[in-house]
Amino acid sequence: MDGGQDMGGVPWSGPVAPEPNEPTFHAEWERRAFALTLAMSMPGGWNIDMSRFARENRPPDEYHAMSYYQIWLAGLERLMLERKLIAEDEVAAGKSLHPAKPVTRILTSDGVAAVLHRGGPTERETTHPARFAVGAGVRAKTMNPPTHTRLPGYVRGHVGTIERVLGYHVFPDSNATGKGEDPQWLYTVSFNGAELWGKDSDPALDISIDAWEPYLDPA
């Protein structure tokens, strides 16, 4: 959906501010919010696309008012509340007030290394050939779905070139909604700066996105 997360190319919001010797986390609650988010996906059973949608599907002002791990936390709470793993009154009370919902498995400390090492590969067995070949011209669709998508606003309607064929990958637009993985061909599509930003663009700039086939039309 069109939301606060889609930040590419939107008007300038100040200089990038690197922090010298930045720590991995800036507060103890960030450590815990990070780890809770990773650990809960196993009993919770949601996928990464559902997690992203839970973080992003909120008014842009709300998204921008939160720090990064506050967004993670808000997304995690939403996923757990939707599935009735927890209830609002329990968060308020700071203790469990209702029976736990049965879960098939949880992340225990002896499983952490294996789970991190395995990760969540998204490439799947191909069932049909790719529609586009390297070098083909494509136009990113103009689309504004109300549900999750990974086609950034700044490329929609613009013409680019297929630069790499990346394989057949889980399609977030479907996976986020619970309708299944619906794998699709994935491509690196590159755009010239002037195509995206007009005549004032840096003349020596190319930008690429990784785009699933349903995002693209032949150009």
Partner: protein, 207 residues
């Protein structure tokens, strides 16, 4: 635009978040959904074991071993896996090489996608609105924010990580490092040089 300001949040707001996280952890532990020891291990892993030192070893190997460099550029994941780095948020890795004519920069305009197994967790600026706004439109402006510039003739290529492919920049090996061991070379490789917002250190900058 909050992310880069989040240190300025007033104390009560931080405390509210802190209390909420504590409450959640208690509820989830009582319900048996989480193992607090697993949380500790997740945190320890990303605070102490998985970070840009891993990526620096990959880069130093590529600088030292032409056959490895070729394998890395042909297919990132297996080559990086040779050094033992793989997994979450690095399931599909691609290395992109800087040359005198081409400079690569990596961003995730939609969230915070970043190659965890080789760089660890992303810094705040990488996730911030200014970087996500600007990297795809004015990458030279981003480089200026980081205090350096490239010749106008150097082409800039920005990789927006919109899928589950993760990108690692292979920076150029600094001159004056002939005959250096991989270990010494790795000390020159900064995190930012592997994102494309920085350059490796020069030999005189390390002891």
């Amino acid at each position: 635009m909050s992310e880069h300001h989040h240190h300025d949040h007033d104390h009560s707001e931080l405390s509210e978040t802190e209390l909420r996280v504590r409450a959640l952890e208690t509820v989830l532990t009582e319900k048996g959904y989480i193992d607090p020891a697993a949380l500790d291990l997740l945190i320890e892993t990303y605070e102490t074991r998985v970070g840009p030192r891993n990526g620096a070893r990959v880069v130093a190997r590529a600088w030292s071993d032409g056959a490895y460099r070729a394998r890395l550029l042909a297919d990132g994941s297996p080559a990086i896996g040779e050094l033992g780095f793989a997994g979450r948020q690095g399931e599909h890795l691609i290395a992109v090489e800087n040359t005198p004519d081409l400079h690569n920069m990596v961003v995730c305009t939609l969230c915070s996608c970043y190659p965890w197994p080789v760089l660890g967790l992303p810094p705040v600026w990488y996730k911030s609105a200014p970087y996500r706004n600007k990297a795809v439109k004015d990458p030279r402006g981003v480089l200026a924010d980081f205090g350096f510039e490239l010749p106008q003739t150097t082409k800039i290529r920005v990789w927006d990580s919109t899928a589950e492919i993760r990108y690692l920049v292979l920076p150029m090996r600094p001159a004056g490092t002939e005959g250096w061991s991989e270990e010494r070379l790795a000390d020159l490789v900064t995190r930012d040089s592997m994102i494309g917002t920085g350059l490796p250190k020069q030999p005189h900058e390390v002891a």
